[in-house]
């Protein structure tokens, strides 16, 4: 119900503010990884920061260094995967919001650095030393600039309160304590029931760390609220952000009219494909294994909401529409990037579902029309390569029913159906060849599929595409789809 409400609100906002101004075409961002010098200077900064903490023993110092090294390694690993970016329109926008809050709160200039993580998990994190990593998955789920400001302010507050390094210090002291080591030794000496004893010890310490962590979260909420309010944002933005976090797993709710998307002259939609088969109930007992509150790292959203309501003064809230306008263009960029992310990670059923959703909101936006085609191509090729499981999961009861229905539909189609569907979609829905790079890509892919027995013909199609569009992301994509055949060396 709540998600339906959110969806309706969103539709309203979209149609009011930028329904007609959505870009008709879109080229995905080419992310540039963070420079290695920047990462190296961060490593030194982390080490210097750690040096401000005193440890009594060498072992404590060594363990703390290991924790900090792991922290830095996780950033480096994300960067190596190509999922971290600090030089793109989205991270520039996030940095601008941070800079506004720095200025409004008279904080140290140029200290905070925001990186965008091209990841669908709705999360943001502070790494200490002013480093904030904001996931695309969270950005594309937020509705207003104020909500983004709250998340950023919350992470800035973690940094200001030095929660990351404080947490490392506390963990090291606890793990190197005589009492803890004694208990670990006792467990190691046990001949039987080692696991149960280890889990009990783990629970005790996790519970203690998490209790401390939950305190930090509430503190970051409260300081974050102050930071954002001083920059002109409102407590309501914080409250809606918390509410969105609570429902971050919800998918958009909409009616999918299957014949209008999947019925063509050369591909007749069959109602049987939507039939739900009955399954035998195996029962279940997982409810007893739900994570207890003491083992959760964050307080519940309900508790955070209540706390913010007490701290903030919601009475003078005024919606600043002027602030939102600049955001909406970037929000669409975030949506489009999320769709591109699903393509790059092979999650084609999600790519399709979100593209259909957006195409209903912006029917004249050809990016979404093309993305539907691209997703159909991805599902077909996944099945061709026996990798369907990566592209289209099985439906389950926890899923949004409409999405589950879409998955069920694709599970019923065989390889021939999928190929026919793709060709039919391209020929009837995609703009004629020569219109734009994305449409041409889909036509080229359609032609290339038909040249199954002619690898040279395929390479010609790719060469023609490259000649027309140069070194574009789509050129890279089509080249990856049909790599040049390896030629055997002559003896």
């Amino acid at each position: 119900m709540r998600s339906l409400f959110s969806f309706c609100t969103l539709i309203l906002l979209w149609s009011c503010c930028f329904g007609q101004s959505a870009p008709k075409n879109y080229e995905p961002i080419r992310y540039t990884p963070i420079a290695l010098e920047t990462l190296e200077s961060l490593r030194l900064a982390f080490e210097e920061h750690l040096a401000t903490y005193s440890f009594e023993t060498k072992k404590e110092n060594k363990l703390a260094t290991e924790f900090v090294t792991k922290l830095h390694e996780s950033l480096s690993a994300q960067n190596e995967r190509g999922s971290l970016s600090g030089d793109d329109p989205l991270s520039a926008y996030l940095q601008k919001i941070v800079d506004q809050m720095v200025s409004a709160n008279s904080l140290k200039k140029d200290y905070f650095k925001v990186f965008l993580s091209v990841d669908d998990i709705p999360n943001a994190a502070n790494y200490g030393e002013g480093v904030i990593v904001f996931n695309l998955g969270l950005l594309s789920r937020l509705n207003t600039e104020g909500e983004i400001a709250f998340i950023l302010a919350h992470e800035m507050a973690h940094d200001i309160k030095d929660h990351v390094f404080n947490g490392i210090h506390k963990k090291v002291i606890a793990l190197e304590s005589k009492e803890y080591k004694k208990r670990v030794k006792e467990i190691e000496d046990l001949e039987y029931n080692q696991r149960a004893a280890a889990l009990a010890l783990q629970r005790t310490y996790l519970s203690e760390f998490n209790e401390h962590g939950r305190g930090n979260e509430l503190e970051a909420d409260s300081l974050g609220l102050v930071l954002m309010q001083k920059a002109g944002y409102f407590v309501e933005d914080a409250l809606t952000a918390i509410d969105l976090l609570d429902h971050s797993d919800d998918m958009p709710v909409f009616q999918l009219d299957y014949p209008s998307y999947f019925n063509f002259r050369n591909f007749a939609f069959n109602e049987k494909w939507l039939e739900k088969k009955s399954t035998i109930n195996l029962g279940g007992n997982l409810e007893q294994y739900a994570t207890p509150d003491s083992l959760k790292t964050h307080p519940s959203c309900k508790a955070r909401d209540a706390s913010l309501r007490i701290i903030g003064n919601a009475a003078d809230y005024q919606f600043d529409s002027s602030k939102q306008v600049s955001y909406y263009a970037l929000r669409e960029t975030a949506f489009a990037e999320r769709i591109s992310y699903y393509r790059s990670t092979g999650q084609f059923s999600l790519m399709l579902y979100y593209s259909i959703w957006h195409s209903q909101i912006s029917p004249d936006n050809i990016f979404y029309t093309n993305s539907i085609g691209n997703a159909l191509y991805g599902i077909y090729t996944a099945q061709y390569a026996h990798k369907f499981s990566m592209a289209v999961p099985f439906p389950n009861q926890k899923m949004e029913p409409e999405y589950a229905q879409l998955l069920r539909f694709f599970h019923k189609l065989n390889l021939t159906n999928l190929e026919q569907l793709y060709h039919a979609y391209v020929s009837e829905r995609i703009s004629p060849a020569g219109s734009d790079a994305y449409s041409d890509l889909l036509h080229a892919l359609s032609d290339a599929i038909e040249m199954n027995q002619d690898p040279e013909g395929r390479q010609e199609i790719i060469a023609n595409y490259e000649a027309k569009y140069g070194d574009s992301p789509y050129t890279t994509y089509i080249k990856n789809q049909f790599p040049e055949p390896k030629t055997k060396r002559k003896k």
Partner: protein, 521 residues
């Protein structure tokens, strides 16, 4: 060092956690895994889900802790339960009857099988401790250091009511019985042969319906006798009374059933297997061919019998490319399916004996004193699908290319051939055929096999082949190539149109199962 390892483990890990990703399910921290790490949970022809049993800890000198995870047919986790079981007990079978789960734990020390019954929340509700185990079952498992390899096929569910199993009584040989127990583990009935003399029997349950249980029984008068008789036996599901016992012979031949398939629609069952001339030593000669017999289900009257001879009938229908060398091959039938239109498909595999250079070398080096292996090896060749019409006439033979797999025979088996050899290879899991499943609506089937170069593990390609019917009802095939590089892999039965691929990644200590749709076009 250990201390630090544990310390980090405590901080960063939560033990063995499974995660569903798309159509994958992954188990972390799996130290080792054999071919039973993940098993299919079935009810008749239908795959209902999967079960994984992992040893977590030792809880006392005599007991260990198992973590049991159940996934549904789409790999969604439904259950997790930790169970304390005897240290020498290993899961050997599992079943679900819509009211309860039954896990069979074989205890090698006590020489018992504990059939433990659980409700739908995995709370124990009953237990039957069976002491009547066939010695070969104990022998097969006793040398097994792993806890997940052995599977006994002697447990079948009876919808909502309980389970049936086979038992063996040691009295003048070994006499087989078929038994039924309810959801509380109470034995409802147990029926075996009335023969009082010396007899060695083996039994296999093939069909459990609303009215009867159909099993096959093989018997011989002494352990080393080549005179063997085979029977198809039907028991009343409610009372256990024997309804009929049919010996599978005709005036000139003796038949050895491999598979019995029941058609509930027509109330007929079809038996298939290999046949020999009466008096032939079934352990030393190649069989004459394979047979198909259909019986009326109520009284067990023979309706029709068909003998398909390897040299006369099959050879004629062999694809021309595959005719060369065919006569040197033995063929075993793995499974037979009857589709809704009355057609029968028998899935077989070719194999032959050859001399192993490695076996000869080790025999020479050990100066003939033996060292476990003989100098004879078995080559496993192509998969075959025999297409038989509703009149039981062989209409086509399809052969599917595979790499040749080689298996060194245990010493003493150099002279063995035919039925016994095929059974030995099946028991040891040496064939590439993994399973043949028929869809619940009987409109299609999937015969699944693996194909890889066993002598060059990790270097060659790992392939999974699927044989089934395409949209035009023609026998067709599909080949998957694994693009991952697991330490080991195997396939499990899955719902129609899918194959469950189980992969073990030793370095990451990860056991993964995923479902892939096949492309039979």
């Amino acid at each position: 060092m250990m201390m630090k390892k544990l310390l980090f483990a405590l901080v960063f890990m939560l033990g063995s956690i499974g995660i569903t990703q798309g159509q994958n399910y992954e188990f972390d921290n799996v130290e080792r895994s054999g071919t039973g790490g993940i098993r299919a949970l079935k009810d008749g022809n239908q795959v209902l889900g999967y079960i994984s049993v992992v040893k977590l800890d030792n809880v006392s000198r005599k007991e260990k802790l198992y973590g049991v995870t159940i996934l549904d047919e789409n790999l969604q986790k439904t259950h997790y339960q930790e169970m304390v079981v005897d240290k020498r007990a290993y899961l050997v079978n599992q079943a679900f009857n819509q009211n309860s789960f039954c896990f069979a734990f074989m205890n090698y020390k006590k020489k018992t099988i504990d059939y433990v019954i659980y409700d739908l929340k995995l709370n124990e509700i009953g237990r039957l401790v069976a002491e009547d185990i066939h010695p070969s079952d104990l022998q097969n498992g006793s040398g097994n250091s792993g806890d997940d390899k052995l599977t006994l096929s002697n447990l079948k569910p009876v919808a909502n009511k309980g389970y049936v199993r086979t038992g063996y009584v040691k009295a003048k040989g070994y006499k087989a019985s078929v038994q039924m127990f309810d959801n509380s583990g109470e034995l409802l009935w147990s029926q075996g042969t009335n023969y009082k003399g010396k007899m060695y029997e083996g039994a296999d349950i093939h069909h459990v319906g609303e009215k009867m249980v159909i099993s096959s029984v093989i018997s011989k008068k002494s352990a080393f006798s080549s005179e063997t008789k085979c029977f198809i036996v039907a028991h009343d599901i409610n009372s256990g009374d024997e309804i009929y016992r049919i010996e599978t012979i005709d005036s000139k031949h003796q038949m050895f059933p491999y598979d019995v398939s029941y058609n509930e629609k027509t109330n007929e069952f079809i038996v298939c297997g290999e046949y020999y001339k009466t008096g032939e030593n079934i352990y030393k000669v190649k069989s004459q061919g394979f047979f198909i017999q259909s019986y009326e289900g109520k009284e067990g009257k023979l309706i029709k019998s068909s003998l398909i001879n390897w040299n006369k009938d099959v050879a004629k229908k062999m694809p021309s490319k595959k005719k060369a060398g065919y006569k040197e091959m033995d063929v075993t039938i793995h499974k037979m399916v009857i589709t809704e239109n009355g057609k029968i498909y028998a899935i077989g595999e070719q194999f032959k004996k050859s001399i192993s250079a490695l076996g000869v070398a080790s025999t020479v080096l050990s100066r003939g004193s033996g060292g476990g292996a003989s100098s004879v090896q078995i080559e496993i060749h192509d998969l075959m699908a025999f297409e038989i019409d509703s009149m039981m006439e062989l209409t086509a033979v399809h052969v599917f290319d595979k790499n040749v797999s080689k298996v060194l025979l245990p010493q003493g088996y150099g002279m063995v051939r035919g039925y016994l050899l095929a059974n030995l290879l099946k028991m040891q899991g040496n064939f590439d055929h993994c399973y043949t499943a028929v869809s619940p609506d009987r409109q299609n089937f999937n015969a699944v096999y693996i194909d890889y170069d066993r002598e060059n593990l990790f270097k060659g390609k790992y392939n999974i082949g699927v044989v089934g019917l395409n949209e035009n009802n023609e026998v067709s095939s599909d080949l998957y190539e694994l693009t991952t590089k697991p330490y080991s892999f195997y396939v499990c039965e899955a719902k129609p149109g899918y194959v469950a691929i189980v992969e073990y990644f030793k370095e990451d200590k990860k056991l993964s199962v995923r479902l892939e749709k096949s492309n039979i076009e």
